[in-house]
Amino acid sequence: MRISTLQLYDAGAARIGDVQSALAKTQQQIATGRKMLSPSDDPVAAARALEVAQSQSINQQYAANRVQVKNTLGQVDGALSSVSDALLGIRDALVSVGNPSLSDNERGFIATELSSRFQALLGLANTRDAQGNYLFSGFQSATVPFVETATGATYQGDAGQQLVQVDSTRRMAVSDTGQNIFQGGGQDVFQTLKDMVTLLQTPVVTPADRAALTAGTATGLADIDKAINAVLTVRASVGTRMQEIDSLDDAGATRDVQYKAILSEIQDLDYTQALTQQSRQQLTLEAAQQSFVKMASLSLFNFLR
């Protein structure tokens, strides 16, 4: 076939240009470490990478949510542990009232102890978290849950339970309402304490007085036992939730590793392959350049003297 000289140069330049741009692309892949430089390199994988990245980001957000839940539940558990200690102290004090040799004066000491226990319990019931929110006032987290009255304490919160998304399908309660803990199940620990203080401050003169004291103490003990039960029940549930968080953490961490693996598979460059390809393209480029120069230098005019 006839070859036009112009075509010879054009084709030579075009081939060298092709190899050069392929080499530049490989270089860019190596420099960024990414197999996919733009969506057109693999459109399906590009959309999939976006999806997986979103799943990964949501999964990481759930992990952050769980840290928050763990902190709050830890605080709740700490407060409740102090509450149950206080209740056990109150119980001991009430048991000691049963000693018939106690004088009115000595019962007065116990009443004073119960009064200060009342304040301690009230303080625990009004515990705040690190952000200054009350732990036990339901959705009314800015409102003091319990305010002391003459006969006990009134609950100012509501029955709301704050839920946190801890996994794609699991919303976990992070708080329990103060009403449920301190005034639920047919007992009101604040009222019981006030009643007990009043009872112990009443002088025992007649046998009827003694009988009233004995009966009142028995009721009080029973109420405190109910209160202890209520607190332990809540603590057990808090403990279970904390355990669940731990297992969700494990599952979340596994998923995170999987997402990372998928993303890496979609996006990351196989360096061995890329570097091999680069040297192959380099070789081709050099060959194309050399052969072009050789061919271009061949001309009949070189021999016409």
């Binding site: 070859i3 000289t5 946190v164």
Partner: protein
């Protein structure tokens, strides 16, 4: 006899000179674009009968002709317009493709950050910093969406100016071809010989024209080129060129369209599909096929997000116990009434269901008795006796006046969706995280807002926000890849066609070097013949001494 020998020698000398001249011309134009090599057509002069037989009278040059194949040239022209069209389309779509290439810069990470902050808010509904962070990430999401949209708008404006320059280049070529038709006709009539270099120039102009738009040449009997483009629109007829005009679209003031002047002086808009191939065809095809779709797809994500997020937000209560307002500003559909409308009707469009929106634009026309709404993505037309009507989540209504027969409107439900997407709230306390008033720790509505991230709310409840955005990325990626392949194939096709044409018509310098030697020797030989004729004549003269 001797004088005859001298004139034979002289004819050979002339022919050799013409040969050297032509060879020199070929060498000089070896790299001139569009040059076809020329060859000398030489024949023996008419012989003379001397009784004893016919005696040759030397040689004569009948013509200098170019080696040219109309068939091959047409193939190259077609391949050229195909390649330039695809290359232009590819260069344009790559801008969008590259814009979406960086996984850290797209809309996706901003969307994820926004919903992460909503989750954080659900953990601390009363916390002002958590609320502020929702507003800040929403602002940055809106900025990202708007930024991407303004880049797309920039590309569209770039297309306007490229269309303008392409039209002006086409008109220049058309005028030059018409002028050359005239010049070639005159030259040919005057000499009866082909004006090779003018012919080359005209063919090269046709090739250059094909880089701008696909043009078909119909050769007239007298050798004039009549050039047609688009749907058989005459661009050059004989010595007259009919220029194209770039005009503002009747229904969209931001857009330039291409048309021509009709015989009655009015401008007829041809429409984007009317031009194929070449730079102009590629630009128009990219604009109607990809750019609008991309901008609408982004707009749909923005409108869908604004609409569904607002609906959930309005179901809640803010820190002060007041019912939630709009969280995002949502853009309204754009209605463009044609500037050619003669009626007084004004048409309104509003979004009634963001989940039903498509990424298409709609054409509304009135024929005097009924309305026709055409979805432009698939040209589905539906007739309605009256308005208002709801089509794909958009309510189209007559807000005033009355239409005249032949009036039409362009309705673009999602075109400004991304540009008009912004955050409506400014006070963090106004975020409605609670499901009931007066409970600062109530996070129920915040949880519901956060859950929207993974809910299938768009495209008739089939995809998430992220999914709809992902679809757009994937579509752009697919189309870019397709163009990468077809444009490479078109380049190959053009290369092959050019190689074939060049192997026929191109200059080969080695061949010309050979010709140079051949004509040089012919010249020397002719000179020798003349010298011998001189010697013979001299011999005759010496007889008389």
């Amino acid at each position: 006899m001797a004088t005859n020998i001298l004139s034979i020698g002289q004819s050979a000398l002339t022919a050799a000179q013409v040969g050297i001249n032509t060879t020199g011309h070929n060498i000089a134009n070896a790299s001139t674009p569009g040059y076809n090599r020329q060859v000398v057509v030489q024949s023996a002069a008419l012989a003379q009968n001397f009784g004893f037989g016919f005696l040759g009278q030397g040689t004569q040059v009948s013509t200098v002709q170019r080696v040219y194949s109309e068939h091959l040239a047409t193939q190259v022209q077609n391949a050229q317009s195909g390649k330039t069209g695809l290359d232009t389309y590819y260069a344009q779509i790559r801008q969008i493709n590259d814009m979406m290439a960086d996984p850290t810069a797209g809309v996706s990470p901003a969307l994820q950050d926004f919903f992460a902050s909503v989750q954080n808010l659900s953990n601390n509904p009363a916390s002002v910093p958590a609320r502020q962070s929702v507003l800040s990430t929403a602002e940055s999401l809106a900025a990202r969406v708007q930024g991407m949209d303004s880049r797309l708008t920039e590309i569209e404006q770039g297309i306007n100016s490229q269309v303008l320059s392409s039209v002006s280049v086409i008109n220049t070529y058309a005028q030059e071809i018409a002028t050359l038709n005239d010049a070639i006709g005159k030259a040919q009539r005057a000499s009866g010989q082909p004006p090779n270099d003018l012919l080359d120039k005209r063919d090269q102009l046709v090739l250059e024209l094909n880089k701008e738009v696909k043009a078909t040449v119909v050769k007239q009997g007298d050798g004039d080129y009549n050039v047609f483009i688009g749907n058989g629109q005459p661009l050059v007829v004989g010595t007259r060129a009919s220029p194209l005009v770039a005009v503002t679209s009747p229904t969209n003031a931001q857009r330039l369209e291409v048309g021509y002047r009709a015989s009655n002086g009015s401008t007829v808009v041809v429409g984007d599909a009317g031009f194929v191939g070449g730079k102009l065809g590629g630009l128009l095809q990219f604009r109607s096929e990809t750019l609008n779709a991309a901008q609408n797809a982004l707009g749909r994500v923005a409108i869908g997000l604004a609409s569904t997020f607002n609906a959930q937000h309005q179901a809640g209560f803010d820190l002060a116990g007041v019912a939630g307002g709009s969280f995002f500003n949502q853009a309204a559909p754009v209605v463009g009434a044609s500037t050619t409308n003669t009626g007084t009707a004004s048409i309104g469009a509003s979004i009634t269901s963001a989940g039903q929106l498509t990424t298409s634009d709609y054409h509304l026309s009135y024929d005097g008795t009924q309305y026709t709404v055409t979805r432009l993505s698939d040209n589905t037309a539906t007739n309605y006796p009256s308005l208002p009507q709801t089509v794909d989540g958009v309510q189209i209504s007559l807000t005033g006046g009355a239409p005249a027969a032949g009036d039409y409107f362009l309705i673009r439900p999602t075109a400004k969706g991304a540009a008009g997407f912004s955050v409506a709230l400014t006070d963090p306390a106004d975020i409605a995280a609670a499901s009931a008033p007066g409970a600062v720790g109530n996070n129920t509505n915040a949880l519901a807002l956060a859950a929207l991230q993974t809910a299938n709310t768009l495209a008739g409840g089939s995809v998430t926000y992220q999914g709809a955005y992902g679809q757009m990325v994937s579509q752009i990626g697919n189309k870019t890849r397709e163009l990468e392949v077809t444009s490479a194939a078109a380049t190959n096709l053009l290369e092959q066609a050019t190689v074939t044409l060049q192997s026929e018509s191109g200059v080969n310098l080695d061949e010309e070097a050979t010709n140079l030697l051949r004509y040089q020797q012919a010249y020397q030989a002719a000179a020798k013949v003349m010298q011998i004729a001189q010697d013979l004549f001299n011999a005759l003269l010496t007889i008389g001494r």
